[in-house]
């Protein structure tokens, strides 16, 4: 099948054309995967969440009006799917210092001893530590911190992805940061964060 434009592809998908659906999936898969990986709940696999996201996309394709870029609409569905899954996983076990891996403990120690940027070798451990801390937070707090600080998105982008207004985004980000700070302090027992 020759490569068709997104518009034409969408039209074919609305008519239940399988080949067009495969083409659209191939086009959108990297975006969906990236979002799912960034907001992955603890007990779900990324493959399952990608699958759920695409099924929602195809089931609701008639509702896509074309007023916003397709990627925005798809991102919103992917994020909401992850958010719903996080909400479904209610238990958030308390994190203790002894639960941290060697790398995560090193990050905590390095943060305690320096005010400079962490070495690049600590980045993956820092991400794991942040994921653990975020895993203890409410889905919306987790979402806003991920979008703002880990994915480094702008307020405008977050507005488009979540449907929240600017004030709400800022307030939620502020409160979520305070909660993250409190969790880190509770974990490490250090008050000067």
């Amino acid at each position: 099948m020759p490569e068709t434009s997104t518009e034409a592809c969408l039209k074919l998908v609305r008519d239940h054309d399988e080949q067009a659906a495969r083409e659209l999936m191939a086009q959108l898969y990297p975006l969906v995967l990236k979002l799912v990986r960034a907001h992955l709940p603890h007990r779900s696999s990324e493959e399952d969440l990608c699958q759920m996201t695409f099924i929602k996309i195809f089931n609701n394709i008639d509702q896509y009006s074309g007023k916003v870029p397709l990627e925005h609409w798809v991102s919103r569905i992917a994020i909401n799917t992850c958010l719903n899954q996080i909400k479904a996983e209610k238990s958030r076990p308390e994190l203790r210092l002894a639960d941290l891996s060697e790398g995560e403990s090193r990050v905590v120690e390095n943060l305690a001893s320096t005010t400079d940027e962490l070495p690049s070798s600590d980045r993956n451990s820092a991400k794991e530590l942040i994921d653990r801390l975020l895993g203890q937070m409410k889905p919306q707090d987790r979402l806003i911190l991920n979008l703002l600080h880990i994915e480094e998105r702008t307020i405008e982008e977050i507005k488009a992805l979540t449907g929240w207004n600017s004030a709400l985004v800022k307030v939620r980000a502020f409160r979520a940061r305070q909660k993250l700070k409190a969790l880190y302090t509770q974990l490490t027992g250090r008050t000067h964060l």
């Binding site: 990986r37 699958q51 305690a112 991400k127 530590l129 994921d131 880990i150 480094e152 964060l193």
Partner: protein, 91 residues
């Protein structure tokens, strides 16, 4: 932005290596399409069931209404016949 520990931690986490494997798992497309088709089939069936239920309700309602009308018209006819007979036989 202040260089506090939380910012340092968040910045380091943001710069962590992303898993670069973006290949679709084997059979992924097929599973999604099969589920999509099944859902749309179920939706059509559900729509058909709803339409059938509505049609049945309309048929029953119209039957009940016409039965009531038939019954009442029949009793009126009998009453008229009774009156006529009584009128004929009364001296």
């Amino acid at each position: 932005m202040k260089n506090d520990r939380l910012n340092l931690l968040l910045r380091a986490a943001a710069r962590a290596e992303q898993t670069s494997d973006e290949t679709m798992p084997f059979g992924f497309e097929t599973r999604v399409i099969a589920q999509w088709k099944r859902n749309s089939g179920e939706n059509s069936l559900a729509l058909f069931r709803r339409a059938l239920a509505c049609a049945c309700a309309v048929v029953l309602a119209s039957f009940a209404l016409s039965y009531h009308t038939l019954e009442s018209s029949q009793s009126t006819e009998l009453a008229i016949a009774d009156t006529a007979m009584e009128a004929n036989f009364t001296p």
